[in-house]
């Protein structure tokens, strides 16, 4: 690797910054990023960011969406080249020209969206791009050993080696992705929202693995929106805001409130909004509902003016329950009743019944990211978007900006493709779609997954307004059914919570009688756990 040129080319700001932020970091850090600058056209993404990670520490990188975390990590991985600043790995200059150069130097990135080939086996995925070869042929024995070793280090059974990846659960795939980084002998491991699709027990398992790797001297950069998690696992933190480092230090010395204040630049109180609500008439009745394989048996009554949460482990059938209620998955037994009418319904009929759904999978199901903001928001209800049953852009734009204002969604033009918006703004559009369709029953599947604190607070506030009927529009209170793997959220906003286990839905219990411990016990005990990462056969 070429020797880095002297610091003289870097901006004064970066040099000045370095002194105060990194003064307490010894020069022996495993990874040292100094004064990183990056522009995209007229947009300044990074304006002098510093990051120092020691060997054997978990370093949390915190910031709202758009603060520059992803850009910084793309520069670290070699996907982007910085416009200014230096990077060092173990004291040597580190200038990756491509992601593969970054990997070869020992920087492994585990992205939020998994980057594995679903049709290949686990072993092929682990060795992909770095297959041990003699001549043009793959050295099968060596590949097997590499895979076995890597799987062992992430706590997965070696029997999974020859299983096609698509047969694994999300949690297992995530671990395979990490195993790939481990197989390459990484020195710096970057985990970008690793728990966003994991259940609580899988998260615990991942954390114990992270602690093990830390003890073995690996440097780990941990990115997450779930601050409780970060407080639990990280040793040190760096907070980014608007492309600058606004704070760094030892995790022990700060509280959650301090970090939130650093992230948003002001104090956020009342993350979970809760106005007094009065449950009204029953609008959704589910009795003994069964689907293809999940759910097995679910009964539930949902009233106007209340928020009911569904907790449970990944694979317990919560998503399938909501999909079956909405008509996306077939009903095999039992009934769904909405406002006096009996199902089964198709999604089209459900929208007409006044039921709307937000999908857990924003990218592949929730939104058409190549289509415009206006098209995405108005798709369920295009009637009334123009004279004589036509659809005009002016009406679409008017409807879009109305809801965008209510949810403070930021975009340049209603006809801009969704691609360019941040995750938080995209998710708010998925929710605004329900408001546009003027629904009475909201089925929300992981509505705040992977989005920043500011957007989360706005979404909680909106849900509360809808359920209590206190919004600016005169409308009756809505009924909300919300699935979430994040318990503080459920406890914070719901009136009642039901726990789902192995396809069966428990009784919805008033939230006052519950706490995280009780919910987890009910979700994971009794019988065997619903999912167990790394054990047994693939799902």
């Amino acid at each position: 690797m070429p020797v880095n040129p002297s610091d003289s080319e870097h901006s004064d700001a970066a040099v000045a910054n370095r002194g105060d932020v990194l003064s307490d970091v010894p020069q022996s850090a495993r990874l040292m990023m100094r004064g990183i600058h990056k522009r995209f056209g007229p947009t300044i993404a990074l304006a002098g960011v510093d990051l120092a990670v020691q060997a054997g520490e978990v370093h949390a990188l915190i910031g709202e969406n758009g603060a520059g975390k992803s850009t910084l990590m793309k520069i670290l991985s070699g996907a982007h080249q910085p416009d200014g600043g230096t990077m060092q790995l173990d004291g040597n200059a580190y200038q990756p020209v491509s992601p593969s150069a970054g990997r070869a130097a020992g920087v492994a990135m585990i992205y939020q969206e998994l980057s594995l080939a679903p049709h290949l086996t686990v072993q092929e995925n682990i060795t992909l791009g770095s297959e041990p070869c003699f001549g043009p042929f793959i050295h099968r024995r060596q590949a097997r050993e590499t895979a076995t070793h890597a799987l062992h280090r992430v706590g997965l059974s070696q029997d999974l080696r020859s299983v096609p990846l698509h047969r694994l659960s999300v949690a297992q795939r995530q671990l395979v992705e990490i195993a790939r980084g481990v197989a390459l002998g990484c020195r710096v491991l970057v985990l970008d929202e690793p728990t966003s699709s994991l259940s609580t027990s899988d998260t615990r398992l991942l954390f114990s693995l992270i602690r093990e790797w830390r003890a073995n001297g690996m440097a780990i950069v941990y990115i997450s929106h779930v601050l409780e998690e970060v407080l639990d696992i990280a040793d040190r933190y760096t907070v980014l805001r608007d492309g600058c480092t606004v704070g760094t230090g030892a995790m022990k010395t700060v509280t959650l409130d301090d970090i939130v204040s650093m992230m948003v630049g002001r104090h956020v109180d009342h993350l979970y909004a809760r106005t007094s609500r009065k449950p009204g008439e029953v609008v959704l009745t589910v009795s003994q509902l069964g689907g293809n394989s999940l759910p097995i048996d679910a009964s539930l009554e949902l009233r106007r003016g209340e928020i009911v949460g569904i907790a449970g482990l990944i694979g317990a059938g919560r998503t399938e329950l909501v999909r079956t209620i909405f008509g996306l998955d077939p009903v095999k037994q039992g009934t769904v009743q909405v406002a006096g009418r009996s199902g089964p319904f198709t999604p089209a009929v459900q929208w007409r019944n006044g039921v709307g759904m937000v999908s857990e999978d924003r990218k592949t199901e929730g939104l058409a990211v190549a289509l415009s903001v206006a098209d995405n928001m108005t798709l369920p209800r295009l009637t009334g978007m123009g004279p004589l049953g036509t659809v005009t852009r002016t009406r679409q734009a008017a409807a879009t900006s109305k809801w965008a204002q209510r949810l403070s969604i930021r975009y340049e033009s209603p006809f801009q493709p969704l691609l360019a918006l941040s995750g938080g703004n995209q998710q708010k559009i998925a929710l605004a779609r329900l408001l546009h369709a003027d629904v009475d029953v909201l089925l929300l599947d992981e509505p705040t997954r992977g989005i920043d604190v500011g957007s989360k607070a706005q979404i909680y506030h909106m849900i509360d307004e809808l359920a209590s009927g206190t919004g600016p529009d005169p409308r009756p209170p809505c009924a909300v059914l919300i699935v979430s793997s994040y318990l503080p959220e459920l406890l914070g906003i719901c009136d009642r919570i039901a726990v789902m286990r192995q396809g069966r839905l428990g009784r919805a219990v008033p939230v006052e009688q519950l706490d995280e411990h009780r919910i987890m016990t009910e979700a994971a005990t009794a019988g065997q756990p619903a999912t167990a990462v790394g054990e047994g056969a693939p799902t």
Partner: protein, 390 residues
Amino acid sequence: MTSSSRNTPANRFTSLLLSWMNQLGPVLGLACVWVFFAVVEHRTAQASGLQPSFMSWHNQLLILLQTAVVGTAAIGATLIIISGGIDLSVGSTIALVTMVVAWLLRIGMPAPFAAFGGIYAGVICGLIIGSAVIGHLGRCAAIAAGVVLGAWAFWLGAGVIGTIVIIAVVSFVLFQLDRRFIPNVKLAPFIVTLGMWGVLRGVAKGFGNSQPIYPGSDSWLSNLMHDTPFGMKGLPVYGVWLLLIVAGLAVLVLKFTRFGRHVYAVGSNEQTARLCGVHISRTKMMIYGIGIGCAGLAGLLQFSFLQMGDPSTAEGYELKVIAAVVIGGASLAGGEGSIIGTLVGALIMSVIDSGCGALHLDNWIQEVVTGIIIVLAVAIDRLRRRRIEP
């Protein structure tokens, strides 16, 4: 990073300019190709002492005439490609329709009936393809069997009403059987239309024992591609006007109707469309019915151009049609595409044909040039998009 930081007046102007460029891109490409041939042909003609012909009004009319068939079919294909599908059977559909129209005229049907029959044949082909795409193989059989039995009954002298009753009964019974007994197997449009490419061509050939069918008598239907409105020689022929009307309707449908928005939504992300309550199978049936109905109309024009039914006509048109749509800025992955772009794409190919002809270039050169233009057009399109959406 933040969206607001880009909203300066200067940037807004640039983005407005870029969006204009985006709309005009294919048109500029067409102008470039036309000017290139005009200049080159003018020079070479002058050098050899001949009268340059490429720029003449007569030649422009010829270019339009040659665009009519491919253009009409390409409008239907645009719908299909925007929805994420593809139609490889266009050429075979056109050939079959020329046969149907010629046959109907020969057995003494009035011209409007024959015209309707031709378009109807196209729509039926579309519904069969649509049924297979949404997974109802049985429905294909139902439609096909209904049509065949109906035709047979008609042949035996069942009369028009009897024929319709027979088609309805047979189709209904088979539809019910399909619903009860045949599992739903969704097929990729590529596979379905690849199959139909062979099936329809074969049916067209079988229709006339591999021989062309001559309509026998002369009618307005045979002159759509030869006569001009009011007999004015300076105007394009009826077929070109028909193309423009269909294009205008398609623009309105895509831009201003729920169905149009649903076409884009299904192509962009089918799962999202389903989540939002779009009836996927109904929308797809409509897309293939209308889209391949356009191919039926193109077949009508082709019949008029040839003045006979020819089972081996329009071979390779499927690729010309797809090329026109793609040059016009549509994405084969779905979700993007425009009617105006497609028209321009079809015109670009006609201009190349005409230009190469005027330069007396060999056919093979023309094919090479067309191939290069297709790849180049799409490459330029991608580049342009990248500048607009960083």
